[in-house]
Amino acid sequence: MITATNLSKVYNGTKVLEIEHLDIPSGQNFGLVGNNGAGKTTFFSLMLDLIQPTTGNIFNKEITVSESEEWKPFTSSFIDESFLIGYLTPEEYFYFIGELRSRNKADIDSFLTQFEDFFNGEIIGRNKYLRDLSKGNQKKAGIVAALIGDPEVVILDEPFANLDPTTQIRLKKILKELSQTAGTTVLISSHDLIHVTEVCERIVVLDKGKIVKDIQTSEATLHELEAYFSREIAES
């Protein structure tokens, strides 16, 4: 589904991302972990053509993302609050995204009913603008908006951050179902090793822009990751 070849991004002479080859098959639940500055958000931004690669390309379903806009109809994402339109109410925002993905109001309304639990009564029908919601509630709205219109690829940057514990558990369920039942390719990044091992079938560890581990998730994965990230502390 998604292929990155020879991909690199250089900022002022510093290489922040260098991926020789990465292949993400269709329907995979893909997790990206790494410390700050590892290149997770850079990779996602490159996937969405928000920044230009220094070398190489990303192909989304064989479409070169930096050359054509054809990947947009089947790809959706939520990176940060800059993906929300602050002066809209959540409903209006969902309807707007719906229209961009050719779903009418009724489609969206029925789509939203399955997220009633997830929203916990704090999003719909509150007559508040998105900018007036708390960070956590903004995130909820953004994540759900990214699922509108049955996209084939969903990209979520740090979806668990800022969410309350109950919502985190609900989100894990939603994300697992997404790839299992609908066959959606889901890409997430996280700092929380437990969440990411629970949700993702495959986990890639980035360090200073390079892939250092590529693991098919198993019982031992969490331990392996913990060992990896505590190695420097252990050394000193």
């Binding site: 928000l50 230009q52 947009k72 602050g86 002066y87 707007f96 229209e99 961009l100 007036d132």
Partner: protein, 494 residues
Amino acid sequence: MFKHFLWLEWKSFFRSASFGKSLGLKILMIFLALYFSGMFLLFGIALFPLIKELSPEADPMQVVNRFALVYFTFELIFRFMLQTLPVMDIKPLMHLPISKIKVVNFVLIKSLFSFYNLLPLFLFIPFGILCIIQGGYGTLNILGWIIGMYAIALCVNYFNFIIKKRFTENLKALIPIVIVGLTFALLDYMKIFQISVYFGKILNILVERPYLALIPIVLLVILYKWNQNNLYGKFYLDAGIKGKSKTANTRDFVWTKKFGSIAPFLQQDLKLIWRNKRPKTTIYLSVIFLAYGLIFYPNEAYQGMPAFFVFVGIFVTGIFMINFGQFIPSWDASYYPMIMAQNIPMRQYLASKMGLITFSVIVLAVLSTPYVYFGWNILLLNIACALYNMGVNIPLLMYAGSFNKKRIDLDKSPFMNYQGTGASQWLVGLPLMLIPIFFFWIINKFINYEVGVGFLAVLGIIGLILRPAILNFLVIRYRKRKYIMIEGYKQKGD
């Protein structure tokens, strides 16, 4: 402490995303500033001999005092329209051990170093000196007068803050002030209650008793304190960020559905305009400036210069275009990455923006039809100007927009949020007006009025016919600039 603030200001100026653009504008502004300083200085020197020549028996000092109130009123109006208020991002400072009053004082004192406060000195000082040399006034008397007058000018400075503050928060608050001002002007004009004469007499007393200059100084201090309290009271996050979480207005603009594929974007833009203070002011401005023609059309002085009417025509039908259009696509800055990553083809996005502005030009052109009262030639010229706006100026503005990379914070706290409401905003509009005026002036001079009108209309129509091709060009341009724009919009603050 002020040293630290200055250091912050310095950094934010040189590190801002719009540094290059604002530097160019700043150079232009410096030229304008020099020009106006020269003009004021010249006027200040010439004022005394001029009055002596026009009415030899009058005392120039009394004549000047007689018109002082009119001068200060105009100063207030000009300051209101042109002066940008000093801004400071307070959020990062709030939790630091800095006393609030120091921040407030810094902002208020910084405003004193504005160019607008320098200009009156060019006027008052040379005139005062000439009064001493040629008018036989005492040095102390004139010193009192200069200090008093300058204190009043600074009062205008702070008074303007108070008005401007209320204006941006609530436009209706301005209406009583305008009504009171107009009433006094009318009473004065009809010689029922000549407030300007009384004001002049008070100033004459000031010249006789220079120690009375203390009164305007006290007034100045009071206004300063008033501003201080105003700002101090707003020095809370919830005053800006949370306080105004009122119930959402959920008007839907269903009628936009008629516009097919660009409908969702149109709807979006209309919500953008109605729900955010800044874009909303552009609507009010459009309506107010619709009356702009009334200043020019009945005026004898302009009858021989139809090129001036081109200016009015472009301005009246294009005021929304100028005010709103020049910040495209910065209005969408806070969610530009989303616009770029969502299922929105660039072409449709740009087409909808152009559609919205075109629509505004049509509406304003229709609203300006009553000007037919001043003659059919004016109506025709206005229609030609509207066509020119639609065909030529809109693509020009869209092209200029691709250079925009300065963020506009729609939901920024109302604490001194005046981004882009200064003189530079009007300068951007100049080429949009000067080019058609130039063409029309040439043709009107060498051929005739009708051909000039026709020429502008034809230029506009050509632009409209070529619009699909222009759009293609703009799409390439915006795609190329996309990454720079996303990067620039990430930078908050000035």
